[in-house]
Structures are given as structure tokens and as C-alpha cells.
């Protein structure tokens, strides 16, 4: 039985599947200087955090690859020629190389744990996750998500998790690319203040678009815990697929430089792990079968969730 077979069985039995918590925001909180997702400078800390999530009871751990794609290493140059002219060596393959490194860290943590947790390769919007207006056109999105899905497929993950999808069009292209890899695919939408996808499109539209492509679960993420149940209800009404949620705690504290997404979340004091887990029982009640933590959460949140699930 592969690691994902066990997850699929849990979903079929309506047994809760526990996702891990945040990687990026937790590495930043631990004092890691955020560059290359910490994968070049602090791979041991990345692996250690995966190990903590496994020890906390996660069934699925996620790779440290949120918004890791070639565009983040290209958008800050005039064009590819300018990148070659003034850029550091290796930038052309940086996203590819770090994706493989990220999978290695997750696999190493699993091997060391002696468990069979499933490893989800995390794919995300190609442009800034909070800026649906910047999303690339369909053919670009399909091509670039296709490349990333291929990397994960070669590197050896058990499923692909499309996280923080902020509009229907890119979610559809990313899901199509991901499903083509042959791996099981879950798609998670980021919610805006109106209770819809961040783009303003109804969650039901996003769910229908990816359901038709053969994804195995749909979720909402990066939404405050108090608004998460509403997202779960909308998902459940829109599909018979398993649904899930992982909420963010604290508030996004953006960098003063305009580089790629910098996962700094502060002020998480309002939501203790216990309070979060209590709230998550409501999501479970609303029909969520997959539950975990987004930005601002840490292994204590996953441990608290394990106790109540």
C-alpha cells in the first residue's frame, strides 16, 4: 500500500486526514533568513520542522515550495538577458534545483521517522498569491505549472497540493497540468474578505472547474479560522469530493522590499493551538475531512488537532 492509498482509504471512510502546519512562516519565526526558502542555507532546519510535524501526528506533510517557481527569479530582472547579464550564477535553474531539494528534505524526514506519511508537493499561484490580478494568461499558466508538476513527479511525491489558488482560471490550468502528471491532486482556494475566492469569483465556480478535471479533494486555506467553516460549507455544497481546510493565524506582515512572497505572520496570540483545534471541530462538523494549518501555525497546532480528530 502506498502512502497515498492509506490517505485515500481514510477519505473514503470519512476518517479525518491531518495535514501539517506552516513551513515558511515558522522558519521565519525561528529566525531563518528567508532566501531560497531556507533550502540552500538551512536545509537541516527545514527537515527538522517536517520531522516535528510528523511527530505531531500529521498524515500528510507538505513540501517547502510555496510560490517557488522560475518567475520569482525572473520578475526582478528586465528580461532573461538582463538576468544573465547581472544575475548570480545558477538562477536559471534555481527554482528547479530548490524544488528537488525541498522534496529531498521531506523524504528524509519521513525516512527518519519510520512512518508512511504522504508527501504533498506544494504548487501555488505563479505570481504573488494575494494578487489575482497578476495571474498569467492560460497558456503560460498551463506550461509553467506543467513544468513544476513534472519536477515533483520526477522528484517523487505522493500527491500534488495546489495551494492558495486565487482565481478560477489559473486554478483550472494548474489542475489540468497537475492531473496530467498522473499524481493524485488536491486543490485549495484562498478566500477573500467577501467569503469568495480572493478574485471575487464564487468558490462553487472554482470547485466545478477543477472537479471536472479529476482532482481528488478541494479545500480552502489562508483564511482566518472564524471564516473557515463558511468556506467548508460552500465547498461541500458544490461537490461530492472530499473537502478540507487549513486556516491562517495571525496577520500578514509584508516585507518592505518587493521581492517574492515573504511568509512573515505576526500577532498570532489570539489563536492558541487549543482554541484553533476547538474551532476546527466546527469545520469537521461542516463536513471537512482534511484539516491542517496554514501560515502562522506550528507543530503545536497540529498536535492539538491530532488530539481532537
Amino acid at each position: 500500500m502506498t502512502p497515498y492509498d492509506r490517505i485515500r482509504r481514510q477519505l473514503d471512510d470519512n476518517t479525518a486526514v491531518l495535514l501539517d502546519g506552516a513551513i515558511g512562516s515558522e522558519l521565519v519565526r525561528r529566525g531563518i533568513r528567508w532566501r531560497g526558502h531556507g533550502l540552500r542555507t538551512d536545509p537541516d532546519q527545514v527537515q527538522a520542522l517536517h520531522a516535528e510535524y510528523i511527530a505531531a501526528g500529521a498524515d500528510v506533510i507538505r513540501t517547502n515550495t510555496f510560490q517557488l517557481n522560475d518567475r520569482i527569479y525572473l520578475n526582478v530582472f528586465r528580461d532573461p538577458d538582463h538576468r544573465r547579464h547581472i544575475g548570480a550564477p545558477g538562477l536559471e535553474t534555481r527554482a528547479h534545483d530548490l524544488t528537488f531539494r525541498a522534496v529531498e528534505m521531506a523524504v528524509a524526514a519521513r525516512d527518519e521517522s519510520g512512518t508512511d506519511v504522504a508527501i504533498a508537493g506544494v504548487m501555488a499561484p505563479l505570481e504573488h498569491c494575494f494578487r489575482p490580478d497578476l495571474a498569467p494568461d492560460d497558456s503560460t499558466a498551463l506550461k509553467q505549472h506543467g513544468e513544476i508538476a513534472d519536477w515533483f513527479s520526477q522528484a517523487g511525491v505522493d500527491l500534488l497540493l495546489l495551494e492558495s489558488m486565487n482565481n478560477v482560471g489559473e486554478a483550472r490550468m494548474a489542475a489540468e497540468a497537475a492531473v496530467s502528471s498522473g499524481l493524485p491532486v488536491w486543490v485549495s482556494f484562498i478566500m477573500g474578505p467577501e467569503g469568495a475566492i480572493l478574485s471575487g469569483e464564487p468558490l462553487a465556480d472554482g470547485v466545478r472547474a477543477v472537479d471536472a478535471l479529476g482532482v481528488e479533494a478541494v479545500l480552502v486555506n489562508c483564511v482566518p479560522p472564524e471564516d473557515t467553516a463558511h468556506g467548508v460549507e460552500q465547498l461541500r455544497m458544490a461537490t461530492s469530493l472530499p473537502v478540507g481546510a487549513f486556516a491562517q493565524v495571525g496577520r500578514f506582515d509584508p516585507p518592505s522590499w518587493k521581492f517574492e512572497f515573504h511568509p512573515r505572520f505576526t500577532d498570532s496570540g489570539d489563536w492558541s493551538p487549543e482554541k484553533y483545534a476547538e474551532k476546527a471541530q466546527g469545520w469537521r462538523g461542516a463536513g471537512a475531512r482534511i484539516i491542517g494549518g496554514c501560515c502562522g501555525t506550528d507543530p503545536n497546532y497540529i498536535r492539538a488537532l491530532r488530539e481532537i480528530l
Binding site: R35, F77, I86, G192, R251, P255, R264, T266
Partner: protein, 305 residues
Amino acid sequence: MSPYDDIRARMISGETIILDGGIGTEILRRDLTWSDHQVLDRPDAIRGLHEDYIRAGADVITTNSFQLAKRSFLGHFRDEAHMNYIGVPGLEERAAEMLTASVDLCKQARDNVGADRPVAIAGAVTTLEWCFRPDLAPTEDQMREEYREIMATMAAAGADLILLETVNSVTEARVGLEAAVRAGLPCWVGFVCNEQGELFTGETMADVENALAPLEPDVILVNCIPPDDATAGLRELLAVRKGPCGVYPHIGRFDPPEWHFTAEYPPTTLLEESQRWKEMGTRVIGGCCGTTPEHIAKLAEGLRG
């Protein structure tokens, strides 16, 4: 009388004026993250690096405020409603607070060092969107509004002049310069250019001079480009420019989100390049990303007098 008046008079009389070196990259060398300007979180470190540049011999030091604008924070969110939904409080005001702090730290550094020569503080202001991407620039009306706010903050904080740097288009240079003039601040304008000495928009140095000369910028410079490209840009600029010109190249390579330091241009090599730029007629010389107080000390020693 501002310390800048004396520096300006000396520059016009033909003296070489020394600008400081890399600020952001010095933050990295001091083992701090580039994700924040650190003017509020680590004022000691930022003040210290300004002090190092004054001791190295810089006549003009620049604030640690590259690309620091309201837009830098707001651009991370879908819109204001979304920022209020998941962002930390106070982001609307954060840029202005940090700009003010960046000037304060330069003033403190100047007081602490007490150099026996005038030291002027240049408020560093950059393109509103990414410096290497002219295609992302906002509309002219939008620019005008945002630059007015930035220049007013810089003037209120006590900057002696503005260094509008790494500019990538004539339009943005003109709008930023107009705003500085309107705020009553002298202004230098630095451009990033390609290997042929043209702006990334394809505009030429003649276009630059024609558009900016009526607004009387004290200096037009080229910056944040490798030394060879700087030579090309200077050659084009000096051929058309009536007023003073300047240069501060970067050394090493951009390694987003940080900098890749190389040993290609140690201080003595940069001095040799700088002597050639001086002979070409350049009045202001300093360093951009990757240069250090050691580079500036060498330039000050070798180019003065």
C-alpha cells in the same frame, strides 16, 4: 546654510564629490535580512553603516530607503479591504515612518562621527515599482501623487537633498524630480542603463538631458549597473549633458532576494575604473550594491585633490 551648499559649490568648481557605497548589501554583510530595511528594528546596525561611510570619506551619505514607499506594502495585498482583512495594522503609515527613521539615522550618524568636513544627507528614492521593470510603472498621475507624498516626508524629516536613483524611464525621472523641486529639495537623478548606455525603455541620454535640464537637477548619474555599462552610460551622458554627471556602479551579482558578492572589483580596481571616469569628466563618484566602506575609503583617498 545646509552642508550641501558647500558640497555643491565645490562640485561646481570642479572638485570630485564622493558618494557613499552600497547600503542594502551592507545590511546583508552585517548578517541581517534584506526583507526589511531594518531602520526600525535594527537602528544601531543602520546607523553604524552610515557612520562607517562617513569615516571612509563620503561627502554625501544616502538614506536606507531604497524602494521604500507606501506602494511597497500595499502591493502585497489584493486591495485595501484585503489588507485590512489579513494584514497587520498600521501598514498605511509604515512607509512614512520608515522614511523618517531612515533620515534620522543618517543625522545621528553625522552627529556621532562629527567629521571635519560637511556631510550631506541624500534621501534615497527609487522607482515606485520594481527598478528594473519600466513596464510596471504606474500612470503619470498616480506617480505624481505618490512622489509628492514621499518628497514631502523626506523634506519634513530633514534630508539635505534627494537622490532619485535607479530610475528606468524619462517620465518617472521627470515626475520624481518635479516633486523634489516642489518640496524645495535639490535633486540628483541616477539612471540604470544597458550595455549601450540607453535606458531600459530604449530612451537615450539625450532624451534624459532634454527632459530634465529645464528642471535643473544638480547631477545626473548612472547607477546599479556593472562598471563597463557605467562607462558606456557615462560616455553617452557626458556627450549631451551641460551640468555635472556622476556614477556609482554595482559590483557582484544580483541573487534575488539577496546579493552575490564577488572579488572582481576590489577597492584598488574600482579606484582605477573611477580614475578613468574622473578623467572623462565625472564629478560625483561612489558605489552601489556590493560596494563597501573599504571601497569608498579607497575612492576618497585616490580621487580627492
